[in-house]
C-alpha cells in the first residue's frame, strides 16, 4: 500500500474546492503527470470535491472532506472521500444524467422549471468522461471517488 503523498482535509465549504484543485494539480505536476493531462486533473478533482462538499452540506456539514493524493511511482492518484450518510439510492447512470441535463436545458416554455441544480449524476458523468481510470465506491457511510493518471515513470 503506497503512502499518501499529501492528505488535505477541508471544511465542506465551496470556497475550499479551489484549494483542493490547486493542491492536486501542483502534486500531479510534481509526480510527472503530462502537462496535457493537468487540466483533466484540475476539472476531475474539482468535480469530485464539489460533489463531496455538496453531500456533506446536506448530511454532515461539520465533517471535513478528505482529499488524498498519492504518487505511486507509475501513477498519480487522487482520492476524494466523503462520509455523507446517503439514504438515497445510487446516482443515475452517467448517460441518463446527461440526457436529463440536455432535456431540461431545452425546456423553453415560460413556466419551465428554473431550478439550476444539475440532474443527479452529472458530476460523476463529467468525471467518467474525463478520466479513464476512475472507481467510485459508494456505501451507507460515504463515498470515495478514486482517480488515477499515468506519470512519466509509468509511460
Amino acid at each position: 500500500m503506497p503512502v499518501p503523498t499529501v492528505e488535505l482535509r477541508f471544511t465542506a465549504l465551496p470556497a475550499h474546492v479551489r484549494t483542493a484543485r490547486l493542491v492536486a494539480v501542483s502534486l500531479a505536476r510534481r509526480a510527472g503527470v503530462a502537462d496535457d493531462l493537468l487540466d483533466e486533473v484540475r476539472l476531475a478533482v474539482g468535480e469530485a470535491a464539489t460533489r463531496a462538499v455538496s453531500r456533506h452540506r446536506t448530511s454532515c456539514p461539520a465533517e471535513p472532506v478528505l482529499l488524498r493524493l498519492t504518487d505511486t511511482g507509475d501513477h498519480f492518484t487522487a482520492e476524494v472521500v466523503d462520509v455523507a450518510r446517503d439514504p438515497s439510492p445510487a446516482a443515475a447512470p452517467p448517460a441518463l444524467a446527461l440526457a436529463t441535463l440536455a432535456e431540461t436545458a431545452e425546456q423553453a416554455h415560460p413556466d419551465a422549471d428554473l431550478d439550476e441544480s444539475l440532474p443527479p449524476g452529472v458530476d460523476l458523468a463529467v468525471i467518467g468522461g474525463l478520466v479513464e481510470d476512475v472507481q467510485v465506491a459508494a456505501g451507507p457511510g460515504g463515498c470515495t471517488v478514486l482517480m488515477a493518471w499515468p506519470t512519466s515513470a509509468g509511460r
Binding site: 487540466d39 464539489t50 440526457a99 423553453a108
Partner: protein
Amino acid sequence: MDLSLETRTEGDRTVIEVGGEVDVYTAPTLREQIIALVEAGQYHLVVDMERVEFLDSTGLGVLVGGLKRVRAHDGSLALVCTQERILKIFRITGLTKVFPIHGSVADAVAATG
C-alpha cells in the same frame, strides 16, 4: 484567480465578458448577474468565455439556468469560446448541441436567434 464579470451592449445583444474561474464558489455571482439582466429586460445574451480559466459543472448549471430564463422570454443565450479546455466539458455533457457556440463576439452578435 477570482471571477470577473463585465457587461456591455452590442446592438440588441448584451455581452457578458467572463474571466477567471467559474466554480461552485463563484458561479452564484454569474447566476445573479444573468438574473439581473433578464429582470432588466435583456433577453438576448452573449456570454464571452474567452478569458475563462476554469469552468466546472456548477458553471454549466448556471448557463443552463440562464438559457431557460431567456427562452422563457423568447430570448437567446449564445456562448463565445475557442478554448479547447473549456469546450471539453460542453462536449462531455452534450451541451454543445444545446448552446450556440461562436468563435468571436462579432460572430455571436451577427448570428440570429
